[in-house]
Assembly symmetry: C2
Homo-oligomer: 293 residues x 2
């Protein structure tokens, strides 16, 4: 039943549904018999999402993609209402990518009143995105736990672009004994290096031209490490100076951290992750690079 040699663009019948019960009924006979791949998304599919779906398609017998703009992970001042929701083109892209089932749960079914249960991941959520966006990872962990419980996939696919999120998911899966293999795929980039993100479409043309500054800063840090730099402070100063050189950019944070628990490093020893959050105009972008030494 593995569709290993399926040509990429042949149209076939993708199911689209929103009911949790119907989804579970469809998946029930597959558990333990077929390998279920799962790609949780908030829609507005770009090549990064499609790469996750393609990888799931290659590795699994049945591919489920969820499309749910999760209100719980947006702060009160964040862009939940403005988050793009191009459902028709999303459906077309998922279908063309060979997805078996596109699941679009309704918020009222995901969080029926009274909803009371939340997953908290400590420590690893305290800094960086967790500090800037209080409650964000609680919302992410809670919805992912729920999606995992409902879909019960064998493998789940996430992009490295949301690096801290991947570490949060890893920790949760381990701590809560989810029998799911978590697959993290490299960040996909535009030709000028800008990491693909659903938020990129909200950049004005001038902002879009300024946005690759994040990637250039990551590249600069990598080059410095290649040349032997090991101390964080001077490295981060160079990164910050480069970001400052772009008038439309405002640095939120740049941090060199241990890649597992995201604690800041004074000195790179075995390897590190460089995390970057930058506001370009009103759009907040994040990016990262894993630095091997």
């Amino acid at each position: 039943m593995r569709r290993k040699n399926r040509p990429a663009l042949i149209a076939f019948a993708m199911r689209t549904l929103s009911s949790i019960k119907t989804l579970q009924k469809i998946l029930q006979p597959l558990h333990g018999r077929k390998r279920i791949g799962f790609v949780p998304t908030m829609g507005a599919f770009h090549e990064g999402h499609l790469a996750l779906m393609r990888q799931a398609r290659r590795e699994c017998d049945y591919v489920v993609v969820s499309l749910f703009v999760n209100p719980l992970q947006f702060g009160p001042k964040e862009d939940f209402a403005a988050y793009p929701r191009p459902i028709t083109s999303d459906r077309k892209k998922a279908q063309e990518t060979g997805v078996d089932l596109l699941w679009t749960p309704a918020a009222e079914e995901m969080y029926p009143s009274p909803y009371r249960t939340f997953i908290e991941i400590e420590e690893i959520t305290r800094r960086w995105e967790g500090a800037v966006r209080p409650g964000h990872f609680r919302g992410v962990a809670t919805v992912v736990a729920k999606l995992f419980q409902i879909v019960r996939p064998d493998r789940a696919y996430f992009g490295q672009k949301d690096y801290q999120q991947t570490r949060v998911i890893h920790q949760m899966v381990k701590d809560l004994h989810f029998p799911i293999s978590i697959r993290i795929l490299s960040t996909l980039r535009e030709k000028d290096g800008l990491a693909m993100s659903s938020r990129n479409q909200r950049l004005s043309p001038a902002e879009r031209a300024a946005a690759p500054i994040l990637f250039r800063a990551l590249q600069k840090a990598e080059a410095l490490v290649r040349k032997g730099a090991r101390e964080s402070p001077p490295l981060l100063q160079e990164v910050e100076a480069l970001i400052r050189s772009e008038p439309l950019a405002r640095l939120d944070y740049a941090a060199l951290c241990d890649p597992k628990f995201l604690e800041p490093l004074e000195r790179i020893q075995k390897g590190a992750v460089l995390l970057l959050a930058v506001k370009i105009g009103s759009v907040r972008l994040i990016d990262n690079v894993l630095i091997d030494i």
Copy 2:
């Protein structure tokens, strides 16, 4: 394979093990084929525990009992170290009750360092035991979620004595989509009405003689409601007066609440739960009664 007619006291080979992996390996072939019943406990088995096991035995093909004194649900000033751990007699009792597998996980395997993930149930944990024991229900919900994830039972059995706990579990199971039927069994009592509890063995003879005051207070409230009492304040005054009449007893709380969300009621309309927490000497006891009208 249902052992409906198994005589209650025939000895058979009960497995005892602590490894999570070994447990999962044993249960793996049963999922979806046999009905797995699960009784999570902290050991020190009394008739209340055994009643849960017997009910699981009657209703299920395979009965798993976990014995784990969960450090996470004890406060820093509580009785974790002093909690009774009579493992030899527990094993004998479980075996005689027809349990298939007694699982005794180790704390280091349940919470390997670094452990970071916690389940929070809001609102329903705010009052009563939640207020007196901060973090208690977070510990309960977290360990039960973990046990459920590992065992993946079809049915799980809890005693009504820990009433608020049963509501917390219900909420979590619903919110996190656990495909588990939760069975709540009536509180078992000693002849004088004292609710069975592992903590009872820590009562001195004088305290033990005073302890049935909880049950007498619940009975008094029931009698008053039968006679037409509907307003909470006078009802609770009678309960409190009765508790005060016992010199060794110190009331922690007495509350008439709606039975689902445990919000206090000014007036009993459809039914209520009367929750009681009383210190007898240094031992804190809880009890409750569901009042139907």
